[in-house]
Amino acid sequence: MSPLASKPIEILLIEDNPGDVRLTKEALKDARVSNNLSVAMDGVEALAFLRKQGKHAGVPRPDLILLDLNLPKKNGREVLEEIKREDSLRHIPVVVLTTSQAEQDVVESYRLRANAYVTKPVDLEQFLKVVGSIEQFWLEIVKLSRP
C-alpha cells in the first residue's frame, strides 16, 4: 500500500480546459491521501515544468501525471513521448485523461507507454467518480516511486 506519506503526493495535471481543471481540483480536494495539484495548460509549459526550466525552477517533481491529449502548442502524444524518453521522467506514471474515444488514440497512447488510458466522461457525476477511482488506485494503492 502506498504509505500515508507525510509529504503530500505531487500531481501534475496537464489540461487546457479550465472547467475540467476546476472539476479535477474539486474531486481531489477531498481525497483521503493528501495531495498537491499543479496545473500546466499546454504541452510546452508541461515539459518546462517537468524539466524545472525558467519560472518552474523550484517546482516539486510530480509523483503522478494526468495528461489530456488535445493540448495547445504541443499535443499530449508528443508530451507523452518526451516524458517516456527521458531517464529522469519516464518512471512517473502517466494516466491519459481525454475525451477521445478513438481506438487509434488508445493504441497509440499505450504504444507510447502511457500507464493507463481513461476516457473523460461528459457527465459531472461520472467525471467525479472517474477522478475518485484514479485517486483511490494511484494515491492509496500504488507504491509510487519517490525520491
Binding site: M1, Y117, V118, I134, V142
Partner: protein, 132 residues
C-alpha cells in the same frame, strides 16, 4: 460508465504462485462490476506458454516466481510487439523498484487490506480504464 462498449468479458492473466493470494484475488475480481475472466498460471514459464497463444487485456504479476521470474517475464512482454501494450500491474512484497511495469502495488499482508487493494485494482482497471 465512460467505458466504450467493447467486448466483454475482460481477459485477465494472473501470474501468482501463492494459492492463498490466488484465491483472494479471484474472490475480489469476482465482485468487480465489469465481467472478467481470470486465467491463473503459477510460474513464469507457464505465463510465457499462455502468452504465446493468448493476448489478455490486463496482467497481474507477482515478481517472485518459480522458473522464469517476474522481472524476466516483464522484459519479454515489453519486447514483444504483440504484447507490449498490455497494462501490467506488478503486485509484490518486495520493495525493489522496477522499470517496466505500469503500476507497482505492494502486497498487503492482512487479507482484508489485500482484498481492498485488489478491489481498487479491479475498479480502476476494469471499470475506468480503456484497455487497448
Amino acid at each position: 460508465m465512460s467505458q466504450a462498449p467493447y467486448r466483454s468479458p475482460v481477459e485477465v492473466l494472473l501470474v501468482e504462485d501463492d494459492p492463498h493470494d490466488v484465491e483472494l484475488t479471484l474472490h475480489a475480481l469476482h465482485g468487480a462490476k465489469l465481467r472478467n475472466h481470470v486465467h491463473v498460471v503459477r510460474d513464469g514459464a507457464e505465463a510465457l506458454d499462455f502468452l504465446q497463444q493468448h493476448t489478455p487485456d490486463l496482467i497481474l504479476l507477482d515478481v517472485n516466481l518459480p522458473k522464469v521470474d517476474g522481472r524476466d517475464l516483464l522484459k519479454q512482454i515489453r519486447g514483444d510487439e504483440r504484447l507490449r501494450h498490455i497494462p501490467v500491474i506488478v503486485v509484490t512484497s518486495s520493495a525493489a523498484e522496477e522499470d517496466f511495469a505500469d503500476a507497482y502495488v505492494m502486497k498487503p499482508i492482512a487479507p482484508a487490506v489485500f482484498l481492498k487493494a485488489v478491489n481498487a485494482i479491479g475498479q480502476f482497471w476494469l471499470e475506468i480504464v480503456r484497455l487497448g
